[in-house]
């Protein structure tokens, strides 16, 4: 994808790990040195890595809430407005009868809540994700990758840090 869009490669070091505790050691050491913009690849969500990175709560939940509330309001608003827009007496019930409309409002709450959740993930994870960061196919299989964006003056000491933490491979990524 990066190549298709001609994104410029971010220079840095790409370290591969087999052991999860080695990766968390490296993350903690790098963060202690002031590296905050690491990119960590894992084959599955891993809570030890999450703890080491000290991540904040994903803002996705706000989108779920807004989507759900919008759906609920849209459900009641649509059914009531349409009932009064062309009033037809059906089944001897009031023109705008709320109990049957709960079903519609409920379904739309779920529908818009779910769709906005997925849209939020697409926005944050794919569209707003960092581009031009080196990747290796092994990270979707069984290895953990840590990308450290860095320039040449610190590169030796960081490579040393990664290797002593237990990296099985460290790759230099040029711009």
């Amino acid at each position: 994808m990066a190549r298709l869009r001609r994104t410029r490669q971010v220079p840095g070091l790409l370290a591969s790990f087999v052991h999860v505790d080695a990766a968390t050691d490296a993350i903690r050491a790098l963060r202690a040195k002031g590296f905050r913009n690491l990119v960590v690849y894992t084959p599955a969500p891993n809570h030890e890595i999450e703890e080491a990175l000290d991540q904040s709560v994903s803002p996705v939940r706000l989108f779920t809430l807004i989507g759900g509330l919008t759906g609920c309001a849209a459900g009641f608003g649509m059914t009531l407005w349409m009932s009064y827009d062309w009033p037809v007496l059906a089944g001897g019930k009031p023109i705008g009868s709320v109990p049957p409309y709960v079903v519609i409002a409920f379904e739309l709450t779920i529908l818009l809540g779910a769709l906005s959740t997925v849209a939020a993930v697409a926005l944050f994870s794919v569209l707003m994700g960092k581009r031009g960061i080196a990747y290796d196919p092994r990270y979707s299989d069984d290895q953990i990758g840590i990308f450290v964006p860095t320039t040449s003056d610190q590169i030796r000491s960081i490579e040393q840090l990664l290797r002593s933490a237990g990296a099985v491979e460290v790759r230099h990524e040029a711009a």
Binding site: L38, P45, H47, I110, L115, V118, D141
Partner: protein, 456 residues
């Protein structure tokens, strides 16, 4: 603040957790190997059955619904029966993928993808039936509220319109849930594939790399999707049941209908899950991922639970019919057991209420042959349950002069066969082109190796 989404309780079960991450990828990717001759034959027969249905549908469009066995007083028959049957099938998938996710049941991981696929294709099949049943299929969009020249809006007080929203939402949300869970797995397949397949999987993986940021949003969103899908699945079959319960036809007009239908839906769905995955695990050589003593035992326990709820619901229907003192209800239920549809009524009771009770025995629960046979009984029994509810109630309602029998025709059976072909076709195509076992969720449960040894 560090946020730790609670991990799945890792199941350190000796015979489940023997795999490493690399082995999981290898085993699941190998299910996508070139198709065998048996697979092609199965796919061709599914397509053939679908074509029978398509041809029947074209005849119905050309000549009208008169080809089907519709005659007064029975205007809901095989199509509506099959509609409820397929919607019900879908429910087990969402139960396993969403509700058991919230309950943190570790055994769901290996089987949930196949059940979720079953859900999406079953609801896709079900969605066709109201449209087939409309007669004038080409104006099906009149069901939707859209501004039109007639200045008319749909009647939102009608349960049939609730159905449009419930089934539409269910299809959309379950498809979204499936595709969402599939993205990281497609990325794993992409990284193992080569040539044109790699390009196709790359596009499908939408740039997924498994970065910490991606997982952070993904895990949260998955939790919320599961939390949204849980009330949805309970609501959908409740709404389907209200199609019946809101009317005053004897045998339909009961408050027990919503829970009774939801339990029946999950029961029928797990029956279909068993029918599908018992042959599937052997065909795809993933026997070690779905084992009888663990996954199938738990599936069978769910079947037993929902089957017992059905047993209770059947008993309660008869009790309430008698206790109500309403002669119409009493006659309807007497005729269900001893009237002209006695054979359908007893098929339903034997296949659903009685056969499921065999699952009290562990030997039967963990034996795949017996489970497969029971699952066939469940599929037949649950189709007949809907047939009994719909047709037997309609055929004898308030005026004995109007009573009549249903005479299903080739058009009814053609569409029924076509629906099985349509469903099987999609399921088979999916199983050979996408990971049918969730790669990343299984990996999440396997502890990664540690240089200092031991477990976390």
């Amino acid at each position: 603040m560090a946020v730790v989404v609670p991990p799945h309780p890792a199941q350190h079960d000796g015979h489940v957790m023997t795999q490493t991450h690399a082995e999981v990828t290898r085993d699941v990717v190998s299910t996508l190997a070139p198709a065998s001759r048996g697979y092609v034959l199965l796919l061709l027969s599914a397509v053939g059955m679908f074509l029978v249905g398509l041809l029947t549908f074209l005849m119905l469009v050309k000549d009208g619904l008169g080809h089907a066995g519709y005659q007064p007083p029975i205007f809901w028959s095989v199509y509506i029966t099959t509609f409820v049957f397929w919607v019900g099938i879908g429910h087990a998938g969402t139960l396993i993928s969403a509700i058991l996710f919230l309950f943190r049941s570790p055994w769901r991981t290996a089987v949930y993808r196949s059940t979720e696929v079953m859900t999406v294709f079953a609801v896709m099949t079900a969605g066709l039936f109201p449209i087939i049943h409309l007669g004038r299929n080409w104006v099906f969009y009149w069901l939707l509220p859209y501004p039109n020249q007639r200045f008319l809006w749909p009647n939102f007080k009608s349960p049939l319109l609730w159905d449009v929203f419930a089934i539409g939402t269910y299809l959309t949300v379950s498809t979204t849930f499936l595709v969402f869970g599939l993205v990281p797995d497609v990325a794993a397949v992409r990284d193992k594939a080569s040539g044109w397949r790699r390009s196709v999987y790359s596009m499908a993986a939408v740039g997924w790399q498994g970065t910490d940021n991606q997982w952070r949003h993904y895990s949260r969103a998955y939790l919320y999707l599961a939390a949204l899908a849980t009330p949805l699945v309970l609501s959908v079959h409740s709404v389907v049941s209200w199609d019946f319960a809101m009317s005053i036809v004897p045998g339909w007009h009961g408050t027990i209908f919503a829970p009774y239908f939801v339990a029946g839906a999950i029961y029928s769905g797990i029956g279909m899950v068993l029918t599908l995955i018992i042959p599937l695990r052997r065909a795809l050589k993933i026997e070690h991922m779905m084992i009888p003593e663990y996954h199938f035992d738990n599936l069978a326990k769910l079947t037993l639970l929902t089957g017992s709820i059905l047993f209770y619901a059947y008993a309660m229907e008869y009790f309430v019919a008698w206790y109500s003192g309403n002669p119409f209800e009493q006659t309807t239920f007497f005729r269900r057991a001893f009237g002209s549809y006695w054979w359908a009524g007893w098929t339903m009771i034997i296949c659903n209420a009685l056969v499921s009770q065999l699952l009290w025995f562990r030997k039967i629960r963990t034996n795949l042959t017996s489970l497969f046979i029971i699952s066939i009984f469940i599929n037949i029994g649950m189709w007949f349950e809907r047939f009994v509810i719909i047709v037997s109630s309609l055929s004898n309602d308030y005026i004995p002069w109007a009573w009549d029998q249903l005479n299903p025709t080739w058009a009814d059976w053609g569409i029924l066969a076509g629906s099985f072909g349509w469903f099987s076709m999609w399921f088979l195509l999916f199983a050979k082109n996408f990971p049918i076992v969730a790669i990343q969720e299984i990996k999440e449960m396997i502890p990664m190796p540690r240089k200092r040894g031991g477990q976390h």
